[in-house]
């Protein structure tokens, strides 16, 4: 008898089977667990924990290595670019999160349930295509896409009253443009992941629902989406974090426009400027820690509310 536990099951209660005393087996399972994660843990410590710890150290000291308390944080917070950068990212995040979470899930559902297998496959490939274009590729493409005089979407841009590249890059338009670019490069990958997640829902479940008379959107809303809740939460956490860490897209727009956009439009860009233009790694670390805390707050919220870390404990 198969019982698929859903993330909705949060009712504590007696487990299905009595739990025998199993200390020796537990130690063996522990050891197996450790061995399995050993390789990854080494890498995690080397390239995750130690650098993060070092960054934390940098954020609370100055260039001479003396403990400086919160002075690095107050120094960056009073920088004239700090406020605008965080204001920019807040606006960007509002649009980005909505777009990426809602649209990728909707598209994945559509591709899974509303179009045929072959078409779905082709569409997934096409949606993913821009994701393969990173960095320089995007610079080149968007330089031309955003210029009303040479862009295939020129007519569309002009309809918005944007007649030349400079007008397109007006400061007020930047959040929208950056969301579009980020969505263009990033959505395809998430659609593939969500699609894969949806694909793991057994057909019987969907069949049963359909037999019960549920329409496709009801199946989506009541069955499919709840069953991929963990994936959606994961995507939300990462979308939030990568959103706050926005760097590549404003940087590439700055290159494409030959410097018209502020080189510190996003907080992460500001951190880079501190690190690599002023050589002030301490201040850069301070900004990074602030971004980390913001990302963690969101992640923590989402993780605890969705039980992302809970796995079935029915042994």
């Amino acid at each position: 008898m198969t019982v698929l536990h859903s993330q909705h099951d949060t009712v504590p209660g007696p487990v299905q089977a009595p739990v025998p005393a199993r200390r020796p087996q537990r130690r063996r399972a522990d050891l197996a667990g450790y061995l399995f994660v050993a390789g990854y843990t080494v890498l995690l410590i080397a390239f995750g924990v130690v650098p993060t710890g070092y960054a934390l150290y940098l954020a609370f000291t100055n260039a001479d290595g003396q403990f400086s308390g919160i002075n690095q944080f107050s120094k960056v917070a009073t920088d004239f670019r700090f406020g605008p950068a965080f204001a920019n990212i807040a606006v960007y995040l509002g649009m980005w999160l909505f777009l990426v979470i809602v649209l990728t899930v909707v598209v994945a559902v559509v591709l899974r349930s509303r179009v045929g297998r072959g078409v779905s496959s082709v569409l997934r490939f096409l949606f993913y295509l821009p994701g393969a274009l990173a960095g320089v590729a995007s610079v080149l493409v968007w330089l031309f896409m955003l210029d009303p005089s040479v862009s295939p979407a020129g007519a569309l841009l002009r309809a918005f009253g944007l007649d030349n590249f400079d007008q397109v890059l007006a400061p007020g338009n930047l959040p929208v443009i950056l969301v579009l670019i980020a969505f263009w490069t990033g959505a395809g990958g998430w659609i593939v992941v969500m699609y894969g997640a949806l694909n793991n829902i057994p057909d019987d479940v969907l069949e049963a629902a359909r037999i019960d008379g549920a329409g496709p959107w009801q199946v989506a809303w009541h069955i499919q989406i709840p069953m991929i809740r963990k994936w959606i939460v994961y995507m939300a956490i990462l979308a939030f974090a990568t959103g706050t860490q926005l760097f590549v897209e404003p940087q590439l727009l700055e290159t494409a426009s030959l410097g018209r956009i502020s080189p510190t439009w996003s907080p992460n860009e500001l951190a880079y400027v501190f690190a690599f233009q002023y050589g002030n790694f301490n201040a850069a670390a301070a900004i990074s820690i602030i971004l980390l805390v913001v990302g963690l707050l969101c992640a923590g919220l989402l993780v605890t509310r969705s039980g992302l870390f809970k796995v079935d404990e029915d042994r």
């Binding site: 390239f47 924990v49 960095g135 699609y195 990074s288 870390f309």
Partner: protein
Amino acid sequence: MTILPGASGARAPRPRAAAPHRASRLTSAIVVAVLIAALLLFFVVPVIWLLLAPTKTAGQLEHDFPLSFGSFRQFGAAWSHLTSFQGGVIWLWLRNSAVYSGGALVLTLATSVPAGYALALTRFRGRKLLLSVTLVVMIMPSAALVLPIFLELNEFHLIGTAWSIILPFSFYPFGVYLVYIYFATSLPRDLLSAARIDGADEWQVFRRIALPLARPVIGLVAFFSFVGNWNNFFLPYLVLPSSQQFPIQVGLNQLLSSTPSFNPVAGAGLDITSPELALAVIIAIVPVLVLFLFSQRALVAGMLAGSTKE
């Protein structure tokens, strides 16, 4: 018999009137079609533009219809300009990318898949700690991490070697989480309990049962890891001492700074203009696209058909 999960509301059958059903079906079909069409245009038209760009000259790019086809001769000219840049360095860059991404791929799979499995399906002390730490590290902005990584690599005398890129690339927490979530949601516990009760040790359970069922997510992780590393710019940019060791993304950046449109005084005699850049970009992504096509089957996750019937 399968029992429907405790999702709210869908348990009671809901008969619906037939007439509204048909109308709403039509509207929903139209909505879907419009959505797909709009997205298709959004995602694909810029790529089409890119593919057509090397067939035109820089002037044609600016003045002709954006999606027009230029000429094969122009394509040939762009090709020869690009491949003669710094003595054909673009092939070297591609080779470097393959080495770094391929090497990291092997290590990533070897470390991430077992780790994700263990995090999802075994219990050991520190499991939640590992998950939390992984999450924290994933959210940490990279600006602050590059310096410590550089210092570490230097400490172990790895600067200038391929390992200075492959090792950091192999650290792939995103992949670990993908595997973790996959195993946590899609693998029925009973299968593993049954095997364990039968006396199999954890390694056998992993190899014989979990691994074959995990092919979809392994394909996903392999693909994303390879592509992510292929496109990674900042770490190699910073860590590699010589332009001969650059992967293709960093090389493209150097091409960019040799293009008059982006650096007006650049390129006396270098002949690198927008069409050549576009061609370089296409060359750079062809391996990724080929890989995508090949991993389509793996990416189209197989269903757990057999395991759910009892």
